[in-house]
């Protein structure tokens, strides 16, 4: 068999035939669009990509992407993605989910996945609310968000996921807005290409439980500074920005986790030799 040449793919090649059940107007539709566009631009064959998730509205995304998928248990998407990547380093592994899945129940895994710096891309669709269980505050919810399920607000400091990612050892940190699929696609392409653990926070409004987030489109803005490879500088910028700074905020040079052991392959000739009788 001749060496594989990447065929041209269209974004629609990565869309499954399952219709999303997200609410009309949910930001996650545009995230799905951006993911499929990014994969097309990278020319990854669908069978060379795996999309892993946990639980929540956004964690439904593997069903909607035409590639290998794994809808895991709540908060455990990163350990599952890590296990997959070490067994099949040839695959492009995307781990996706929401702020509840990633920063509440899965918060410890988030830190350790950054620290391990394995070559996967973690996409968090951050809507600052638990959407699937109908509107509880999440770790990124503003402390004064007043709702039926948090009367008067939680009074709790919100999580700073990008800073935590930097402090924990992630190698690529970016923030995008779902309502800007062109920019989000560009960032996802860079995140997937960059070695090591790439973390992309996508501000993705929940129009049902956070209708105020419809206003995000008016407040997001491109980061006024160039990306940096200095994590301390990136962290200082993120701690002092308004939370709506969009762009690649850190692109590091940390050595990614080195895999040992046998080399996996999806090359059919090699597989044929391995299993020849």
């Amino acid at each position: 068999m001749t060496a594989h040449t990447a065929p041209a793919f269209k974004a629609s090649d990565y869309k499954s035939d399952i219709k999303p059940v997200w609410c009309p107007g949910c930001g996650d539709y545009h995230v799905l669009l951006s993911v499929t566009r990014a994969l097309a631009e990278l020319g990854r064959r669908p069978e060379d990509v795996a999309c892993i998730s946990g639980i929540g509205c956004s964690s439904r995304i593997p069903a909607y992407v035409n590639c290998y998928g794994f809808h895991g248990v709540h908060g455990r998407s990163l350990p599952i993605g890590t296990g997959l990547k070490v067994a099949r380093p040839d695959l492009t592994v995307l781990v996706a989910g929401g702020d509840g899945d990633g920063f509440s129940i899965g918060g410890n895994h988030f830190q350790h996945a950054c620290r391990r710096n394995i070559d996967i891309t973690y996409i968090v669709m951050d809507n600052r609310v638990y959407g699937m269980t109908k509107g509880q505050p999440s770790p990124t919810t503003e402390p004064d968000w007043d709702s039926a399920l948090s009367p008067g607000g939680t009074g709790l400091s919100p999580f700073h996921p990008l800073v935590i990612a930097l402090a924990s050892g992630a190698n690529f940190v970016a923030r995008t807005f779902s309502g800007d699929p062109n920019r989000t696609t560009e960032v996802l392409v860079e995140a997937i290409k960059h070695p090591g653990f790439s973390f992309v926070q996508i501000l993705s409004p929940c129009v049902t439980f956070r209708p105020d987030e419809r206003g995000w489109k008016d407040v997001v803005h491109t980061a006024a500074v160039e990306e940096t490879d200095d994590p301390a500088r990136a962290a200082r910028r993120i701690m002092t920005d308004d939370g709506f700074n969009i762009g690649i905020l850190y692109r590091g040079n940390r050595a990614p986790y080195k895999l040992t052991g046998r080399e996996a392959t999806s090359d059919t000739d090699q597989l044929g030799e391995m299993f020849a009788i």
Binding site: V73, S104, M132, T133, K134, Q136, A148, L149, P151
Partner: protein
């Protein structure tokens, strides 16, 4: 309706929240999960209205929720939590710890299918799989029973110093709305005094919990738990009787429905009992000598009462809304064990009925009685959908 109470239309989950309000807990750590979330929602609402004075804590996971329950309970606080399915499974490690540390927690679990595959349907495997964790387990048939059981459970848990789990079926009980008699606060206060624990985490007393033990002391802790477990059946009887004296609604470890002279007794738990009642009435009208034995207290299993109730009954059908892979229905296994060596034990059929939330109508139960009551039981599981 009994006097001194309000009649409200409530779902099972909202009935639980009202039971919690009336029990006056101090600390409530809860993590949301479908289909439990309406319990948390209603408790939040009642707390915001000032009707619940408890500290409501929303931790980052069910594992953290149960961790917080244990330490809060050991200070002598009255503690409630609620969960379902995956949440209960995530708590598993701490369920052992809670009973071992003798924390008097009361929890409502909404029975839901465990993954994989994902599902949100009524199935009791989530809580039945916790049968060895040292929790008292009650199964509830209706929203009314769930409310009543929450209040009784605090008395049992705080007397025995063993945590209690009340399970009700997803949607059939958790979301179905029925008229519920909500007792007055004064009635509940009469039934359930404030929790007073002489053994508690208290700097004035200077105790610690959970320290590593040598073999002999670890063994002793289990013997003590066993001794307390053996008091639970009577505590459940007393609590159900006293509650009945106050409200007109009595409860016990088991309930017998038209079992007098029954040739066939259907044994089951949870919402399936309501369906079986209708089926039994239909069959009795046709002259079929059939009755129902409802198991309300599953842990500790009321073995002596089960042996007494089923001795001499020609045939029993166990309807299990759960499947334990490799063995079959959990209640069927438990019944076989409980009746072992009993003279005049019934022919015991284990039927996997409604696993995964599949609907089982009264007419289907009539068919099962006619199909299986004359047969010899088989050893393995029997799927009947």
């Amino acid at each position: 309706m009994h006097g001194n109470a309000n009649g409200l239309l409530l779902s099972g989950n909202h009935a639980v929240a009202h039971g919690v309000r009336l029990a006056r807990p101090d600390v409530i750590p809860v993590y949301p999960i479908t289909p439990q979330t309406p319990i948390l929602e209603k408790i939040t609402e009642l707390q915001a209205e000032g009707q619940i004075a408890a500290e409501l804590l929303t931790p980052e996971s069910e594992h953290s929720a149960m961790s917080a329950c244990i330490s809060a309970s050991l200070t002598g606080a009255r503690v409630f939590t609620a969960t379902s399915s995956q949440g209960l499974l995530l708590m598993h490690e701490l369920l052992h710890y809670a009973s071992g540390a003798r924390a008097s927690i009361v929890m409502c679990n909404v029975n839901r299918t465990p993954a994989a595959p994902w599902g949100f349907w009524p199935d009791q495997l989530d809580s039945l799989a916790q049968r060895d964790t040292g929790w008292i387990q009650l199964y509830s048939e209706t929203p009314q029973e769930s409310l009543d059981s929450v209040i009784q459970a605090f008395r049992v848990a705080e007397t025995a110093r063993i945590p209690v789990m009340i399970s009700h079926d997803a949607f059939y009980v958790s979301h179905a709305v029925e008229p519920v008699d909500v007792p007055s606060q004064s009635l509940v206060d009469e039934f359930l005094p404030a929790f007073r624990s002489d053994i508690r985490l208290d700097t004035e007393i200077g105790r610690s919990f959970g320290a590593p033990n040598d073999q002999a002391n670890w063994n002793r802790s289990r013997r003590e738990l066993d001794a307390s477990m053996q008091t639970v059946n009577d505590l459940v009887i007393d609590a159900g009787r006293d509650w009945g004296a106050l409200t007109g609604r009595s409860y016990g470890p088991l309930e017998f429905y038209r079992t007098e002279d029954a040739e066939v007794v259907i044994v089951t738990m949870g919402s399936m009992c309501g369906t079986v009642r209708d089926a039994v009435d239909e069959m009795r009208d046709k002259g079929v000598a059939v009755g129902m034995l409802k198991v309300r207290l599953f842990r500790p299993l009321p073995v002596a009462a089960l042996r007494e109730a089923l001795a001499g009954v020609p045939c029993a059908l166990v309807l299990d809304r759960n499947y334990s892979p490799g063995t079959g229905g959990v209640l069927h296994q438990e019944l076989k064990s409980a009746l072992y060596g009993l003279a005049g034990a019934p022919r015991l059929h284990g039927l996997l009925t409604g696993v995964g939330g599949v609907n089982v109508a009264p007419g289907r139960i009539e068919q099962l009685v006619s199909e299986f009551s004359g047969k010899e039981p088989v050893v393995g599981p029997v799927w009947v959908e």
